[in-house]
Symmetry: C2
Subunit: 482 residues, 2 copies
């Protein structure tokens, strides 16, 4: 039997913290009459009480560190229980939504996906907008800690590649997570503040600057206005592009930078590949916009930069309805969304290093073809890629494609058209935010989907955010027997 008490204890702590965070929107909505101050206060009390109950009922088992199965269970339990409580203030707030919608929104927030079920953001109170931003901001830092502390030790999806970097003290998994969270939080906070200041300088109001900084650094993509970033100045678009990129680099590099080592940041091959692919996509889209659609150069470059960065980093803001750019640009945008940013950032999707590993396999195969008697093994960052890393990455791709296929098929059987089903599946599994097509594209929202489709998409977000295998391992017989 797996002992569930240590898991309950940690989940309880996080639920308590989530409840405490609800006091912020409660405070900010106090002055406004139409606000949701009471809702948030009440939800906060309920959530904190639930957290406390869980803590107390599990407290008598001293946490002596978690074993591997407990770690997997903890991961999924956290990312399932937080949206359950995070949805409460949205569900019971002054803008009425069903619990399905509230849960979808909370899951979309905590997984930093950014798909929304609100068809009119302008009628939401500041407290509600802040809550959406907070969900993403907390989810963002949570995922970095998860990627740095849990995934490499769990050997999920090739992340063991990043194990012995920066944090090579091999402690128990929870103290280690706390230590990493400490180092990361400072950097995360500084990035958020710098982003907010830049947004302020680019003309945003204080509230918008802070909330958008939160959803930018989390590469989350929740916006405060129906027309997303098109509500702001061109300068804000440039600032957003810069901070979305900064948020997509491995946070370990920033820790090293603060410690005085700039070498690792500037010589990271994943960062180089990420920037090169992004630059290529921006160039192609800008050229298409100027040449084929005959746009003037500056807005064409800006729209290309902003929207390509937004999709490739998985943020999901829109400053233009790129659905109307033609089928070639849409294909480019769809494909870079399936690449994503760097591992160890707030980014989601497949991530650049996995494509680099595929490419390394391709190069070693071509060497092999030139001299069949030799033995060539894929190399990454100057070192031979261990076999278990390669097969983890292959397993990741297989499950990614299978998940996309199955979610698309389920959505199709629920009556969604092919483009909505496929792009909805992709945007959920890759935690991007907007899909393609008129309904869920950059100009639409997820309000009109059938309820079951929302649950399927919410689960797809969870599975994608936890790098698939962390979830699927729970469905193997050996997990529960062993």
């Amino acid at each position: 039997m797996i002992s569930l008490r240590p898991i309950g204890y940690v989940v309880g702590l996080l639920v308590l913290a989530l409840g405490a965070a609800m006091l912020l929107p409660a405070l900010i909505d106090l002055p406004t009459e139409a606000g949701a101050s009471g809702t948030f206060a009440l939800s906060s009390v309920v959530t904190m009480m639930a957290g406390l109950t869980l803590i107390l009922s599990c407290a008598n088992s001293r946490t002596r560190g978690l074993d591997i199965r407990q770690t997997f269970l903890l991961t999924v339990a956290c990312w399932l229980s937080l949206p359950i409580f995070g949805a409460i203030p949205l569900w019971t707030g002054p803008v009425p939504v069903s619990y399905t919608d509230a849960f979808f929104e909370a899951m979309s927030g905590l997984t930093t996906t950014g798909s929304t079920i609100y068809s009119d953001l302008d009628q939401l109170s500041r407290g509600t907008l802040l809550w959406r931003a907070l969900l993403q901001w907390m989810g963002g830092v949570g995922i970095i800690v998860f990627a740095l502390a849990f995934l490499p030790m769990l050997k999920v999806g090739g992340m063991q590649l990043f194990r012995s970097e920066a944090f090579d003290t091999f402690g128990k998994i929870l103290p280690r997570a706390a230590e990493i969270a400490g180092s990361i939080s400072g950097i995360y906070l500084v990035l958020t503040l710098a982003c907010a200041l830049s947004y302020g300088a680019a003309g945003m109001g204080l509230f918008d600057a802070i909330t958008h900084a939160m959803t930018t650094v989390a590469t989350g993509g929740f916006a405060n206005y129906n027309n997303s970033f098109a509500a702001f100045t061109p300068a804000a678009e440039y600032m957003a592009a810069i901070f979305m990129i900064l948020a997509s680099l491995p946070f370990v590099r920033y820790i090293q930078l603060v410690a005085g080592a700039h070498q690792p940041l500037f010589h990271d091959s994943q960062i180089r590949a990420f920037l090169a692919i992004l630059a290529g996509a921006v160039l192609v889209l800008a050229l298409w916009q100027t040449a084929v659609s005959e746009q003037p150069t500056e807005p064409a470059f800006r729209k290309a930069l902003f929207n390509a960065t937004s999709i490739m980093t998985g943020t999901g803001y829109a400053s233009a309805n790129y659905n109307l750019w033609g089928s070639f640009p849409v294909a480019v945008i769809f494909l870079i969304g399936l690449i994503g940013g760097c591992a160890g950032s707030t980014c989601c999707s497949v991530k650049v290093f996995r494509f680099q590993l595929l490419f390394a396999a391709l190069v070693s195969q071509i060497r092999q073809l030139h001299s069949p008697s030799g033995v060539f093994r894929p190399r990454y960052e100057g070192r031979t890629v261990a076999d278990d890393v390669m097969s983890s990455v292959v397993a990741f791709f297989v499950m990614f494609m299978l998940t996309l296929g199955v979610v698309t098929a389920i959505l199709g059987l629920m009556g969604l058209d092919m483009i909505t089903a496929l792009s909805g599946a992709a945007t959920a599994v890759a935690n991007i935010g907007p899909g393609l097509g008129p309904e869920i594209g950059p100009a639409g929202n997820f309000a009109g989907l059938p309820d079951q489709a929302k649950w399927v998409l919410a689960m797809a977000m969870l599975i994608g955010r936890l790098e698939l295998m962390s979830v699927y391992v729970l469905f193997t017989v050996a997990f529960w027997r062993g």
Copy 2:
């Protein structure tokens, strides 16, 4: 410098043989006035003279075995020069087509793809129909020899897995190819005769039985009538399904069977996986046809069996316009076409063993997740998969997806609609035959595509048929420098 003379010598021999083969259609068209007897005779003379010239001009270099680069060049040179000559009688025949169309048809024949540019097969002479069948039949045995003699030694696409089976005498590559061709040809001929007899028993005329047996055993799919297999009896459909399946199994197993060992045939995990996937697809399609489309059981099962087998084995006959079955059955049919049959058969596409290796990587990853401190390596047929095999397979998938994407994009830029572009690319790279949609679907043909699209598709057939890397290696700098 690569010495080209030994390559020219072998190509010359094959061109000479192709020219000699043109005498068969010349003979069969002799009695008919509207026939193409003269065309074939003339083409035969031209082709044989070209072959002889090539042989004589390259003969003074004794072939002392080929090195690795010569082997790659030879492979591509053969599959490029044979369609160039094979197209001549179609181009100059009584039914006028452009050289582009004739080359497309000849490439489609020799690669056993089976896409046709003839919009009216009924007006073709028997000689022309026989020539199309002969192209596929020769291409089919050619590809088996290529897969057994060349690919494992070249280490292309993971085929080194099959190296030491059955033919483990390690000689020079050309004598080895000749030896394998000898063993295979007998079995290939027996299968073809058995198929022709079965077709005769199922009511086909002699000529149809023989030509369709040729295109069945080659999993080629050229038919003699506009409505493909719908022209024949239900019994013929069942017979075709059986022989398409037999042609999709590894031919090495038949050699072992003839040598008295039935164990290898019945214990081959690739064969089991192939049959299981096919059975699953047939079941799903038959259930859909009876339940959703309310068809009676027998024709529903037969149509499902025949059409699923035809697409999964990459044969490409049609006995129904499955385009009209609904979007779910079409998706199933499209996907099984991308799986394909077994390695070492006349089948094309990705092939079952590569999916088995991906699945093995997945299983070893899940084991790894259960105990992260252990080391688990993918296993296939009871043995650990060598690293170079896994990275070959990964490289194959990467290039397969890239090729599909690039060909689709090029066809899209040429103005083809998305379904035609994507399914056209897939059917060419996977050598299946029919695409999807009204134009190139099972009820259509490739006549109406723009000329450039036909050349692109012909090259895609070549690249797919030679397992991609055999062609792409020629485009690396190291190949020509080394």
